[in-house]
Amino acid sequence: MGVPTDRRYLKSHEWHKLDGDICTIGITKFAADELTDITYVSLPKVGKELTAGKPLGEIESVKATSDLYTGVSGVVTEVNSKLGDAPELVNNDSFGEGWLVKVKVSDPAQFEKLMTAQQYDAQLAG
C-alpha cells in the first residue's frame, strides 16, 4: 500500500500537496508511526517566511524530538491550530486532519523537484 499520489515528498518524511499556489505540508504515516505518540508540535507563526530545505518547526513524541522540514519556500498562510490541543491528530490522520502548515509558495518549480509518491515508497522499501 503506497502513500497518496496527489502529493510530493521529502526524504525526511514530509508530504507536500499543492493547490494553486498554496502548499499544505504534513508528515507521512510512516514518520508518525516511527515517532510513536506525538505530544507536541511546534509550528511557525502565520506570515513567517520559510526556505526550502530548512526546518519549519519541531515535532515531539514520547520517544524523541525531531525537526520538521519544508521542501518549498514561501510565506506561512495558515497553521493547523487543532494540533495545539490534539497533537495526536498527526498519529491518527497524518495525511488529512493532521496536516501542519499551509504555505504560499514563491517558486512552484521547487514542488516539482520533490520526490514523487513512487520515489518515496521506493525509499521506504529500500
Binding site: 510513536t36 505530544t39 507536541y40 515531539e60 514520547v62 520517544k63 524530538t65
Partner: protein, 362 residues
Amino acid sequence: MLRTALYEAHKRLGARLIDFGGWEMPVMYRGINDEHVYTRTASSIFDVSHMGRFIFTGPDAEALLQHVCTRNVGKLKVGRSGYSHVCNERGGILDDVIVSRYEDRWLMVCNAGNRTKIVAHLQRHMQGRNVKMEDTTEKTVMMAVQGPKTMELFTEHLPIKVGEMGRYGFVTGSYMGQKYSVFRSGYTGEDGVEIVLTAATGAMVWDYLTQDGSKDHVAIKPAGLGARDTLRLEAGMPLYGHELNEDVDPISAGCGWCVDLEKDFLGGAALRAIAAEGPRRKMTGLVLEGKRIARQGTKIIAGDSEVGVVTSGTLSPTLGKSIAMGYVDSALSKEGQSLAVEIKDEKVAATAVPLPFYKRQG
C-alpha cells in the same frame, strides 16, 4: 543481539523491537500511551528477561552481598527482597539491583546494560570468599505483571497465593517439575508481581497470561519498554544511565534510604562523607509549563545561571503535564522553587516538586 525466550511471542503480537542493553526487546505493541494507561487502570505484562539474574550460594554469600551492596541485606528475612545500589570506592553507582533472600541461596537482579560490568565486579570481590555465583539470565525468563487488576487476575490464573505476601515479599514453588519464584514488586508505581521461571516454560506462561479477557475479567495485555519508562518516571523511580551512573552517588540520587551507613561496605567511607557534608546537587522532580518535553541533558536554570541538568522527561499520560527528573543544586531543589529549563533556545518555566509525580490510591 540476544533474544529472550519470549521473542516469538513478541513477533506474533506485532511488537516493535529495539536494541536495549544488547537485547532485542519490545518497545511497544499497540502504542506507548495506550499501554501506559492500561497499566494504570487494568493490568499489563512486560518481558523483563533482559535483566541480569545471578544466584549466590555458599557460606560467604551473605558476606559478599553485604560488601558490595549499600543496603543491609543481612536484615532481609527469607522470602523478602530489597532494593540496593552497588557502588565503587568513590561511592559512584555501578548499578541498582534487587536482592532476594531464599532459604539456601540469594538472587540479585541487575540492569541488562550493566550485567557484564557487575559480573566482573562481583568476581573481583568473590576472591578469598567461599561463594559461588551462577548467571542464570539466559536460562530463565522474567516477566512483570503490573496494574490495579493484577493481583485479582493473577490469583485467578495461577495456583499461587500471591495476595497473602506483602510488598517486596516473594514465594517459590514448582509446577510440573519447573521451578518458579513470584515477587510482589515492580517498576511502574502499581501493585503487581514479577515472575522468574525457566526459559522452557516462559512462552507457555506468557501465552496463558495474555489470553483474551472474558465477561468475568479483563485481559492482561502486553506492554513494552516505552510504557515501562513513562510509568517508572511518573512513579519517580530512577533509571540507570539516566538518573544513576558512576559519577552520581545514592545520597544525591535521593536513594539514601537504601544505604546503611552504619555497616562496612564498598563505597561506605565516601558515602559517609557525602552524607555528613550534604550532597551538592539533589534529584528533583520538575513540572514544566506547557507540553514540551525536557529530554536528558536539558539545562536547568535559575535566573541566568545553570543550576542543574535534566536526566529524564516525558509528557505524563496520567497527569497530562510535562514532567522531568533532574539534578538541581541542593539550595534550589526545595518544593515550589521556581526554575526554568532550556529547550532549544526557549526558556520554559518549571517548578520543583517532590517525587513521585504519581502515587497509586490505597
